[in-house]
């Protein structure tokens, strides 16, 4: 049986700073998961990953991450992605440093 498709976002790290970024509908990279384009089927997800991966002067290591759609925007489904969009738990560093980034 075909498993139902889980929504995805394209995520990567910024080439210069290493910070976590997400692909938007307008082909930009945002630091905020809430602004990421949510991909709702396999074919679109693949196509958007290919498009995003080609942005080699801006990002590194693009891949698809599972999300759940919510009113405030996509939410991570796995704790690894939760850490990526927040920052480490031992220091108030990374995205959480500026609250509006979360």
């Amino acid at each position: 049986m075909l498993r139902p498709f889980i929504d995805k976002v394209v995520t990567a790290n910024d080439l210069r700073e290493g910070d976590v970024v997400y692909l938007t509908e307008t082909n930009n990279w945002t630091r905020h998961l809430s602004e990421a384009e949510v991909l709702q089927d396999e074919a679109t997800a693949k196509a958007r990953l290919t498009a995003g991966s080609g942005d080699v002067l801006k990002i590194i290591g693009a891949y698809l991450a599972d999300v759940t759609a919510a009113e405030t925007g996509p939410e991570p489904r796995h704790f690894r992605e939760e850490f990526r969009r927040t920052g480490p738990s031992n220091y108030f560093h990374g995205k959480q440093e500026s609250a509006e980034n979360v």
């Binding site: 290493g18 704790f79 690894r80 850490f83 990526r84 031992n90």
Partner: protein, 558 residues
């Protein structure tokens, strides 16, 4: 300390200039990431979860005050004001930006440091006993040999594309503080008929297939050390599996072919190589040795120290716990704990680095060491200076008296930073340490090595912890597996898996139950956790960990 020769300085500068140009070409698109990645890795630059990470080598764990101060400067100028000391005597900066990395490497070069071969499939940073050159129980300082190996292995043309990474550790003492049995090659100094040489151990390692190394040569004289090492690496370079990275390490090669076959091949190769060195390595070794001359030990009265030790309990606890016997009776080896309960194991702020640099220069013959247990060491402190050192450490949050105790935990960065991690390590270490600190029980519990890794690659050495904790991802939830009875020393052992894992919430109570079981079963306070475990076995600890399962079994039996 060893000082760079003009050749060393030029080599590092040239390498940095090359990498600077490579970074520029990556940023302007002349190099793809696939082309750039091996180049950045051979210069110690990783991409982690939130940022790049730069791993800087501290060869055989030795650095001076000036170098430590430069690390502090780098931490503040290009990072977030701290650095993380690792289990392989490196320091990692967690937040460098790619365009800054060349400047950071130049700043390191200014103080004779580098990040070369701290990653990639090469011979990595050569590590050594952190008490080298100071320990009372040592035969001879192993660091001149470590430096010789570093020079031989750096940019060695045959060994730049090995099947996998390759790690070498040296110990100059019968007490193994360098984990030689869990390295690709471990070198244990031994004495035979009055002559110093090395026992060569091969094929140890942790990771997904933990193995204790096997002796491949019981004695190799120093004059034959390099050709013998070259023979080992060369045999593995051809024989090691490149089809499967999980089977590429030499431990698997030794396991698959058997130590006898590997030994025969190595001896054959060694016979070919031995004469090709023509004594050049020995001449180099003699030059290197001059850089490791013992410091000019001072003399002075110890009366004030003895008085203070007599009436100041806090000072006495710190001396008893954090110092080790020095080969000079008037001196002590001081361990500076980077494990203050609640803090991140192995982290030091720039301010703390500066304090340690000052103390090393004032009271420690300008020498510092990094231990594989993620603490820092002042290897040479005259006992009359211990009080001043302790006071300065306390003032900088570095005075915790917990070396070797349950809160002196090794923890890898885990999923707070590492792209390979499957769970977090740091918060678990923080919780265990603060829990036992609050109970004020750790001195009674005594020596207990807790080691935590956030994935099976085992950077946190969990297999060789008396209590090992391995963080895994179980169906999208962090889960922690416990191993018991591991040992990192000369009596090295891989721990036994205790049973099913625990959730993050359950892990501290589980460790608490293990400790309670130990306190119940130990003969007296002189029997440490590991000894009790070896005497009574896994069963009572398993019962403590899984009381319901044990009850269920009894019920079934009834």
């Amino acid at each position: 300390m060893y000082k760079y020769t003009q050749f060393d300085a030029d080599f590092v500068r040239q390498r940095n200039a090359q990498f600077r140009a490579q970074i520029e070409r990556r940023l302007n698109g002349s190099l793809t990431e696939d082309e750039f990645k091996p180049l950045r890795l051979m210069n110690g630059l990783y991409l982690q979860l939130h940022a790049y990470m730069l791993r800087v080598a501290i060869p055989y764990g030795t650095l001076n005050g000036g170098q430590m101060r430069q690390l502090a400067m780098i931490a503040e100028r290009w990072d977030k004001g701290y650095g993380h000391f690792t289990t392989r005597q490196n320091i990692q900066f967690n937040w460098p930006k790619l365009p800054d990395v060349a400047d950071i490497l130049d700043a390191l070069g200014d103080v004779e440091m580098h990040a070369i071969q701290t990653s990639g499939n090469t011979i990595r940073n050569v590590t050594a006993d952190h008490f080298a050159g100071a320990a009372a129980d040592e035969l001879e300082d192993p660091r001149p040999y470590a430096e010789l190996i570093r020079q031989w292995s750096t940019d060695h043309p045959e060994f730049q594309f090995l099947p996998r990474k390759f790690k070498i550790a040296l110990s100059g003492s019968p007490r193994d503080r360098a984990v030689t049995r869990a390295h690709d090659i471990g070198l244990r100094m031994v004495k035979r008929q009055g002559v110093i040489g090395f026992e060569v151990i091969v094929g140890g390692g942790l990771g997904r297939t933990p193995m204790i190394g096997k002796v491949i040569r019981e004695f190799i004289p120093p004059a034959e050390l390099l050709p013998y090492l070259e023979a080992i690496v060369s045999v593995w370079n051809l024989l090691g599996r490149r089809d499967n990275k999980y089977k590429a390490r030499i431990k698997i090669t030794v396991h698959e072919h058997g130590i006898d076959k590997i030994k025969a091949l190595v001896e054959e190769r060694f016979a070919l190589l031995r004469d090709s060195f023509q004594g050049n390595d020995q001449r180099l070794l003699e030059q290197i040795r001059t850089g490791f001359a013992p410091p000019d030990f001072k003399t002075g009265p110890l009366k004030t120290f003895e008085q203070r030790y007599g009436f100041d309990r806090v000072f006495r606890d710190w001396v008893d716990t954090n110092t080790h016997p020095h080969r000079n009776n008037a001196y002590a080896i001081v361990s500076i704990s980077l494990k203050t309960p609640g803090k991140t194991p192995g982290d030091a702020s720039a301010e703390q680095m500066r304090v340690m640099a000052d103390i090393a220069e004032l009271y420690g013959h300008d020498e510092l060491r990094v231990s594989h247990e993620q603490n820092l060491i002042l290897p040479h402190v005259h006992k009359s200076d211990l009080e001043a050192v302790h006071k300065a450490m306390q003032g900088a949050g570095l005075g915790t008296a917990n070396i070797g105790l349950i809160s002196d935990i090794i923890a890898c960065p885990g999923m707070d930073y590492c792209a390979l991690a499957t769970a977090r390590s740091i918060p678990i270490a923080q919780e265990i340490a603060t829990h036992f600190d609050a109970l004020k029980a750790e001195h009674d519990i005594g020596v207990l090595k807790v080691k935590i890794s956030g994935c099976i690659n085992a950077c946190g050495h969990h297999h060789i912890g008396h209590i090992g904790i391995l963080g895994l991802d179980r169906a999208g939830v962090e889960n922690y597996q416990i191993t018991l009875g591991g040992d990192a020393t000369e009596t090295a052992a891989i721990g036994d898996r205790a049973g099913p894992g625990f959730s993050a919430d359950e892990i501290v109570p589980a460790i608490d139950r293990l400790v309670a079981a130990y306190l119940t079963h130990r003969i007296d306070a002189s029997e440490i956790f590991l000894q009790t475990y070896r005497r009574v076995g896994l069963a009572p600890f398993k019962q403590a960990l899984y009381p319901t399962a044990a009850r269920g079994k009894q019920a079934n039996a009834a």
